[in-house]
Symmetry: C2
Subunit: 299 residues, 2 copies
């Protein structure tokens, strides 16, 4: 089995071209010769190839909507069965998202983007999975989709290649990193409707009941049920917002918690965790709860 | 008492100039005529004036290092006593940071930035507090400092002005907000050293012992003790990183929790919360713990 390496490969800068899949594998940029996704659930997905393999792929240049692996006919490229998130390549992409791991993106000559190479393959830099969801594909079968956003070049250099996270002594790290190379950047923004939702719940988490207190007062986060922006296009309205603590916000946003129409809160394992705390002045649109469940493959 | 309003004021676009403080107060852009900071601990700081009032102010254009209020001689502008974070204007800036509230920034003719107006005052747009810390000022007394970063124009429009968050019915919100108008944007990035710290602690929070589980596996966050980038300039090295859950990460980053040299974890009220869980392979540099305490005014 290939020993998968994340991040930049020494000697293979952005823009390097490869004759074919074998050449890219020899240079360790994409260490498998057939699959579009290289990696496993331990290291995450380390590289992907965009080369017209899936009819549902969308290549927007700086971001890509990539179709998960499986369920397609390699000859016709059409989907002939539902995809599964437990399929290793897809699960590897989820691991990459949850841990913020970088993924090498290669474009091939069969890709749809105008900037695709004319022959062979080209390494186009490091991307990061920022979203995943399921939906019916163009051929009617369930597919998993992953949004990958390009990591800006300056930040990309902080992803040290080839370091073993299981080592007993820590990697050396960086003594003077930039402000933007933070591990988790949490940008809090206020909107009128999120302020209102947090106030009416007194900054108390609707899932676990915790109320964090900072020096300036109680702290909570407005969590959108149907996510904002493409492709989910949720509204920034009170019936699409929950008042959550950061822990439950992460769990909910990543689909590790979902909420049924009767407001039962369940873990992704199916275990009931309790009932969403509600306030008579604030109701949630169950259509948004259903969209959130379906997005992560729950009924 | 003035009824403070956050966000853009209708009819007062970015670049509007004012004859003097009285004029700016009449137009409700800066609703106080003497103090540099307008606001309170309920609505946060709604506006500030940068006009050479404090010797420690730094105006970098798109971001500002602003000195808190108090402790200075209005005649000489020099500090003559320590500042306090419980002083209302300073506490208001903390509330703004914790809630992501927008702050109107006005520049006056006495400011140091080359782009300051030649006379009177000018409204220069919405900023957001992204950091605060204490340190000795140029005159030797303790000052509180606040970093304010300009909010990009597109995002700024999502801050609806003048909405009352205590209203019983929710504000209308926005039915088609952009992806970037999110309330909390959490960008997770992996670095070799954060991967290692999270692995050695098995993604278990060193403060509370919780271990969150997502679909792809356990989730934790690498939290820097001494923050990265200016002005704290912490290193991205294992001895400056904790493995925390998102809740404790927020509390720690905002100074609501601090850690003593003997690894006792305390709330900002001084209450002991327990002892930091350690791993024999991973030690924390106590100098970083001390910098974090001092940054938030703890001994």
């Amino acid at each position: 089995m290939a020993e998968y390496v994340r991040g930049e490969i020494p000697g293979q800068p952005v823009g390097t071209t490869y004759l074919n899949r074998r050449d890219a594998a020899d240079k360790k940029v994409h260490q498998v010769t057939v699959q579009g996704i290289a990696g496993n659930t331990e290291v995450g997905a380390v590289s992907i190839v965009i080369n017209g393999g899936y009819v549902d792929d969308e290549d927007h240049g700086h971001y890509v909507i990539y179709t998960g692996a499986g369920g397609n006919d390699p000859g016709t490229k059409r989907q002939i069965a539902d995809q599964s998130l437990t399929y290793m390549s897809n699960a590897a992409l989820v691991v990459s998202q949850e841990n913020g791991y970088p993924i090498r993106v290669l474009r091939g000559a069969k890709g749809d983007h105008p900037d695709s190479p004319t022959t062979g393959l080209r390494y186009d830099g490091l991307f990061q999975v920022t979203d995943h969801w399921s939906e019916p594909g163009k051929d009617g079968f369930l597919i998993w989709r992953f949004r990958l956003d390009q990591i800006d070049t300056q930040t990309a250099t902080t992803f040290a290649p080839g370091v073993d996270p299981t080592a007993e002594t820590p990697p050396p790290g960086v003594s003077a990193p930039s402000r933007t190379s933070g591990v988790v950047v949490r940008v809090v923004r206020s909107t009128a409707v999120s302020d209102w939702v947090k106030k009416i719940h007194k900054n108390t988490c609707q899932i676990c009941g915790i109320r964090l207190t900072l020096a300036g007062g109680a702290y909570s986060e407005g969590a959108h049920v149907r996510a904002l922006g493409a492709p989910h296009n949720g509204p920034d309205t009170a019936d699409n917002l929950l008042c959550l603590c950061p822990n439950d916000h992460v769990l909910f946003d990543q689909g590790a918690i979902y909420i049924e129409d009767d407001l039962t809160v369940r873990s992704h394992t199916g275990a009931a965790l309790g009932t969403l705390t509600t306030n008579t002045g604030h109701s949630i649109d169950v259509a948004h709860l259903k969209q959130h469940r379906n997005r992560f493959g729950f009924p």
